[in-house]
């Protein structure tokens, strides 16, 4: 648990003080800048100039030069010395008297006119280092008197002392310390805090001052260090609260001081050093006859009875480095963080970061990765420091060199692991997680290439699934460095991705093709071929033309996806279908699929494409026909496809296709369809009925051929079919015999099934006389029903029309039947004479005219129609 925090350096040797006079002892010391004053038991004050000398090796020594010594003339020991440098005075306590001497001459200061310079009956005094009074040329002093239970507060001036306050204490005080208004006192049985301004008192804790010498030491603003029962060093602030845990001294402690972050205490034989940060004992120095321990402006000075020493703190960084060297990470960090307020902020940050990084590496070496990672993160470690531990991970192009002095003691991972492969593996796994976490943060700014390349190498080596994620995302892997590494671990697919990342799609494709072709071994993707096809779908056209051929040869069905699944995008050159068709020329199957894609999915309305597809379908059928009969099923399928296409599409060149199948008797159905397309329905039906004798197809043909036409056309087609069935003419090959019966049956079926489309009267005229009624019953039933239905429907329609007509008539009359006024003042519209009698004739629109005028007009008009509309007038 030990740290070397301090070194004991001699300052004033025995020779310089008392020579060989055995009875003379040091009683007290005071140090002010370079000036050291020593008070002895024979009532002398010695004044030295203390010079710090640093040797070439950095070792600190002190050189003391004696300036003066002065006998005070009281024959008693000099109990205490305090310098008031602003006043150039030393405050001396000797023989119960406090008085002032000049700091330079050591002469007593004579009394000024206004007041005395001596205080008598004093047991102890203290200086307020945090005075409330703002006057720089006076010093505030707390004084304990031997006779009264009081504490007096004095102001010390250059030539006088002045009592400003006196407060009573419940018991006789024996030690005092002062900060602001707060007096911290050791009384006979307890410690207390007393505010001399308000008089408020706060008990701290009991302590028997007669048994053990109390210690009351101001350590910082309103905070005191006190000797507590059981050899404890207790901290207490002005409110009477302890804000730090106590440190554990020995029972015989004489004096204590704080030199942050350490508490230094002196007992009979040792100087003990505790950390205020974790309360642990850090260092013990053997020191015999210890008598005085005091801190002066941050410098801790010790005195035995015969000599003076300085307790020189080792540089903080050295202490921390010592701790780290002993792998005491926690302590080193506590010490560093504890020193924060003593170091300038920017310097502290640099130091803190470095210590954190070193701590991280120590923990890393102990495979305590969680802690290490936390420290690396807090210390903002340059990730490359860590990567550089792993041989060959940093790319050759990296400009990184390790920081100096080194952050750790390891040459590389092998050195660290000492050949333990298990350890190496754990370290690698750690680096994988660590780099994975930091690569998206700003920690890797400026070394992204190094980090990504290292990660890629680790992934490849460890066969890690994230390799592909890394390459699929935005990354900065260095190509030149990664290629051999990926090749070494057969990560060809990944290498292809890397090429792709670097815009070398062609290289990527070549590599993958070699994998698919079995030249290279990489089992990353079992569906690599599909991947390549997908990849080509979105590649530029040059690559498509270059590598599609390979893909089509490998698997035309998949390969054609390069062309059919190509996503449509605005900013890229579109594939020209004609180019593709030309390109696919020698890949029949792919071409077929592509044409199907164009026609069926893209719905391209181009005669050429449709004809091409029809011909390909036909070729397929023809090739199957000429082949072995084994492919019966295939043939059926192929024909169905062909037939469907011939029916659905209306863009192909029918004559051309028809010409191609002219010589094939097997393709009658198709031919019928084509005739249908050409509106040669009689030919089509002839083929269907007489050559194929496929009545169902004939019916379907009629349905299909009339599907987009009006009902009259449909009727015509069905009558045509019926006609073909009933045709008993000499040229019909099926006339008479059994075949004729078959046709008649077909006719009956047709009528019974599709009766509604026929004109029943025409049918009845066509039918042979000898057919039984029973045979045609469904048809007739339906025909009669339909006819009756039609009759009734038309009657209803007629009735409705009449009523509508009546309604209209009624409305019209209502409109017309307005009164017509005739008077003697009104004139006839025809002769413009006035009416003299009530008999008038009304013209349409209710215009009254003379009867004779109308008669005249009718007579003159060519039609000689009589106007009958007349009405009675009043």
């Amino acid at each position: 648990m030990s740290v070397k925090a301090f070194e004991l350096v001699p300052a004033v040797e025995r020779d310089l003080l008392m020579g060989d006079k055995a009875r003379i002892n040091i009683e007290c010391i005071e140090c002010c800048g370079k000036h050291l004053y020593v008070g002895t038991n024979d009532c002398f004050i010695h004044h030295f100039l203390l010079d710090e000398v640093t040797s070439s090796k950095g070792k600190l020594t002190y050189l003391a030069q004696k300036l003066l010594h002065k006998y005070l003339g009281l024959k008693k020991p000099v109990a205490e010395l305090r310098a008031a440098s602003a006043l150039e005075r030393l405050i001396v306590l000797c023989d119960g008297i406090v008085f002032l001497v000049d700091m330079v001459t050591l002469e007593s200061v004579p009394s000024a006119a206004g007041g005395g310079v001596k205080i008598r009956g004093v047991t102890a005094f203290c200086i307020n280092e945090n005075p409330v009074n703002g006057d720089p040329f006076c010093v505030e002093m707390g004084v304990l008197s031997s006779r009264r239970r009081t504490v007096q507060v004095y102001m010390v001036y250059e030539d006088r002392v002045q009592l400003v306050k006196e407060v009573n204490t419940p018991e006789q005080p024996c030690a005092v310390s002062l900060d602001g208004y707060f007096l911290c006192l050791a009384l006979t049985t307890q410690y207390m805090i007393l505010n001399y301004n308000t008089g408020a008192a706060q008990d701290l804790f009991p302590y028997n001052s007669e048994e053990r010498r109390p210690i009351v030491k101001r350590i910082s603003r309103e905070e005191f260090l006190l000797a507590a029962p059981g050899g404890l060093g207790m901290f207490a602030n002005a409110e009477g609260v302890s804000q730090r845990a106590p440190v554990s001294w020995s029972e015989s402690v004489i004096a204590a001081a704080v030199c942050f972050p350490y508490v230094v205490a002196l007992d009979e034989n040792f100087v003990t050093i505790h950390s205020m940060l974790d309360q642990q004992l850090k260092q013990t120095l053997s020191f015999r006859d210890g008598h005085v321990l005091q801190d002066f402006e941050g410098k801790v000075i010790l005195a035995s009875t015969k000599a003076v020493y300085v307790l020189v703190p080792l540089p903080l960084e050295r202490q921390i480095q010592d701790l780290l060297a002993g792998h005491r990470v926690e302590e080193a960090l506590i010490l560093t963080e504890g020193a924060q307020r003593n170091i300038p902020k920017d310097k502290f940050q640099i130091l803190h970061r470095r210590i954190l990084q070193q701590a991280g590496f120590i923990q890393f070496g102990q495979l305590r990765f969680l802690e290490a990672k936390e420290h690396f993160r807090k210390g903002q470690l340059d990730v490359r420091e860590l990567i550089s531990l792993y041989p060959l991970l940093l790319p050759a192009s990296s400009t990184f060199s390790r920081c100096h002095p080194p952050l750790h003691e390891f040459a590389d991972l092998n050195h660290l692991a000492q050949g333990d492969q298990e350890k190496v593996l754990r370290c690698k796994k750690f680096l994988i997680t660590y780099l994975g976490e930091v690569r998206s943060t700003e920690v890797v700014n400026g070394c992204r290439e190094d980090v990504d390349t290292a990660l890629l190498k680790l992934y490849a080596e460890q066969d890690h699934e994230s390799l592909l994620d890394l390459l699929a995302s935005d990354n900065s892997c260095v190509l030149a460095d990664s290629i051999p590494w990926l090749e070494k671990y057969h990560k060809y697919f990944a290498l292809g991705l890397l090429h792709h990342c670097n815009g070398q799609d062609s290289a990527a494709l070549q590599l993958w093709i070699r994998v698919v072709d079995g030249e290279l071994q990489d089992f990353t993707r079992s569906d690599l071929f599909e991947y390549i096809v997908d990849f080509l779908c979105s590649s530029n056209l040059d690559l498509v033309w270059k590598y599609a051929d390979w893909a089509l040869r490998k698997d035309p069905t998949m390969g054609v996806h390069i062309f059919t699944k190509r996503p449509v995008s605005e900013d890229r050159a579109e594939l020209n279908p004609d180019d593709v068709i030309a390109y696919l020329g020698k890949h029949n199957q792919a071409l077929l699929l592509y044409l199907e894609h164009l026609v069926l999915e893209k719905r391209i309305q181009k005669e050429k494409v449709h004809t091409h597809l029809a011909v390909l379908y036909l070729d397929r059928v023809l090739s199957l026909l000429s082949g072995t009969p084994a492919g019966e099923e295939q043939l059926t399928k192929a024909r169905e496809k062909l037939q469907a296409f011939l029916r659905e599409s209306s863009l192909y060149r029918v004559h051309f296709v028809l010409g191609k199948m002219e010589n094939y008797e097997e393709l009658l159905l198709e031919r019928a369809t084509l005739h249908g397309k050409l509106e040669e329905h009689d030919k089509a039906l002839h083929i269907l009925v007489h050559k194929l004798r496929d009545f169902r197809s004939a019916e379907s043909f009629c349905m299909w051929a009339s599907s987009c036409r009006d009902s009259a056309f449909q009727q015509r087609l069905f009558h045509l079919l019926l006609g073909v069935y009933l045709d008993r003419s000499e040229n019909s090959p099926a006339a008479g015999g059994q075949a004729g019966g078959e046709l008649e049956m077909a006719a009956v079926d047709l009528l019974n099934r599709h009766g509604e489309v026929f004109d029943a009267v025409r049918v009845l005229r066509m039918l042979p006389e000898d057919w039984s009624l029973q045979l045609l019953r469904p048809f007739l039933n339906r025909a009669v029903r339909a006819s009756t239905h039609a009759c009734r429907t038309s009657q209803i329609a007629l009735g409705l029309a009449r009523s509508e007509n009546l309604q209209v008539l009624h409305d019209r009359l209502k409109e017309v039947k307005k009164p017509i006024f005739v008077s003697e003042k009104k004139g006839c519209h025809l002769c413009h004479n006035t009416f003299s009698e009530p008999d008038v004739v009304c013209l349409p629109g209710g215009v009254p005219v003379h009867a004779h005028c109308v008669a005249q007009r009718v007579r003159d008009s060519p039609t000689k129609r009589r106007l009958t509309n007349s009405s009675d007038q009043t």
Partner: protein, 252 residues
């Protein structure tokens, strides 16, 4: 070091397991501890707040320091050993008066530790984390600890039986809690219910330890908030206050 917002103090006779309780809670382990010298403290981050938890020395020698530790405390955990009637008695006789310096609204919890020795239900560790490790280290440290206890007057336990006689029942603790509340002059309405503030724990197995500390922390939250508010909105400039604050910040 961060400035603590609030203080929690553990009090109780020596060897009742104050340090072990705190250690179990903070480090999630049970390990061999030595008799605490003077006192020690931990800083616990509780949400946005810092809670300082003081572990005090139970030894008579350090008794005088107790009231200083308790000064300004927001919560005090009075700890006894369920296998020692005396340890409960000491709380009332010796430790209760130390709490006079605590805040007027201080919360008191009464905790009977070592309940794993008397109750089977507490023998199972409640920590899911690091269970096996705990078991082994606990077993190693246990021998010494208990042997030491055997000699200690506060807990005369024997190693012969795994389950010891329970000297202090929860009812005894509840009764004491009532007396403490009366001593504090708190009436029925303002005090917290005894069944909520009396715990039986085992630092060895971790039984009820988290519940104890977390209950307390939740209860002191209002105290923290009030303190923060007071610090914030002091309408008059109080020179002493200013000085106090400075001293606090400078020593952390």
């Amino acid at each position: 070091m961060k400035k603590p917002d609030v203080k929690v103090v553990l009090l109780g006779d020596m060897n009742v397991g104050k340090t072990s309780l705190l250690h179990r809670y903070m480090e999630r382990k049970f390990k061999d501890t030595v008799s605490t010298v003077g006192g020690a403290f931990y800083l616990k981050q509780w949400g946005p707040y810092n809670i300082s938890i003081w572990d005090t020395a139970g030894r008579e020698q350090f008794h005088g320091l107790g009231s200083m530790y308790c000064r300004g405390a927001a919560a005090i955990i009075l700890t006894y050993d369920v296998t020692s009637w005396q340890s409960l008695g000491e709380l009332e006789e010796r430790f209760l008066s130390l709490t006079d310096t605590a805040n007027h609204d201080c919360i008191y919890a009464l905790v009977g530790n070592k309940v794993d020795l008397t109750d089977a239900k507490a023998q199972l560790s409640q920590d899911s984390d690091g269970l096996s490790e705990d078991r082994s280290t606990a077993a190693a440290g246990d021998e010494e600890e208990r042997t030491e206890l055997q000699a200690a007057p506060a807990s005369p336990v024997s190693l012969s039986g795994s389950v010891l006689r329970k000297q202090v029942t929860l009812e005894d603790a509840v009764a004491l809690y009532g007396r403490i509340m009366r001593y504090k002059g708190l009436d029925e309405t303002s005090k917290l219910p005894a069944d909520k503030m009396c715990f039986e724990t085992s630092a060895k197995t971790g039984y009820n330890v988290d519940a104890l500390f977390e209950t307390l922390f939740d209860l002191v939250l209002p105290s923290i908030l009030r303190k923060r508010n007071e610090d914030k909105e002091s309408p008059t400039v109080d020179l002493e206050e200013v000085g106090n604050k400075r001293s606090r910040s400078s020593c952390c």
